[in-house]
Subunit: 156 residues, 2 copies
């Protein structure tokens, strides 16, 4: 019998297949599917995505957040976690967490030959900004809510 709220079968959630990134960053993350489980369940304080990352793809550009902490738990396949201190391979059943404001930028890269599937969790804070040390990118600069811009605030 199909599950009904407050239960949910993630396979019934239509995945987002887009990215808010401008090029050339967009092509580095897509194809990537995100099923917004938290939104589907009516959650407002926490964002929860079930994300599928294709072989050769990056979860995001390497970044850190000012007001949102993040948690990821690997369900299938494996990803390489890249931070300031180097690389670690995360296999199914392992996890990682990124306290806010640490300035230790992170990303996941799928270097395998099959999709990697993981849960990603964060608190939600409209005042959050994200910084990208490796590329000329900034998220949610003052006066441009929800936008990705260059570091100096100019548009792509």
């Amino acid at each position: 019998m199909p599950l009904t709220a407050p239960a949910l079968d993630p396979s019934t959630v239509r995945p987002r297949t887009d990215s808010g990134y401008p090029e050339p960053f967009r092509s580095r993350v897509l194809p990537r599917q995100k099923c917004a489980l938290g939104d589907a369940l009516g959650l407002a304080k926490i964002g929860i995505n079930l994300t599928t990352l294709g072989p050769g793809k990056e979860s995001s550009m390497r970044h850190w957040h000012t007001h949102e902490e993040e948690f990821i738990y690997v369900l299938e396949g494996e990803v390489v976690l890249r931070t300031d201190s180097g690389e670690q391979v995360l296999t199914a059943g392992t996890c990682a967490g990124f306290p806010l404001g640490t300035r230790d930028a992170h990303q996941l890269v799928n270097r395998g030959d099959r999709p990697a599937v993981y849960l990603e969790v964060s608190n939600r804070d409209d005042s959050d900004q994200a910084y990208y040390p490796d590329v000329d990118l900034h998220y949610n600069p003052p006066g441009q809510p929800g936008r990705f811009t260059r570091r100096d605030g100019t548009p792509y």
Copy 2:
């Protein structure tokens, strides 16, 4: 090679095996193991537990929260989700979410013959209280922070 922060192998986290419940509720949930992954990773805004619930046991008494929303994702085994609208079986790969303040009380019950393993996620809010419609229990009443009491605020 062992994972190091910000990565974490949950098997290296010593589980909590206690419960803050008074009897007779304590015996209904234990044995139950909770690995506090969020705490181990230094997260402050979100609580994340990897929980193992024994056969015949309940995740909690049926309850709802005033200021914390909850999300659970089943990893192994299965649990029965009990809410005001009845029962649903959650198998591995399915999930449920409980917006705050809905007054639709919930619990998970392991009616199988093997442990059930799931992730549980919530935002953290010190002003949260939990109400238990089926039993004489209340969590975090005014003036008794972090305590479980009877509904009228008297101690067990």
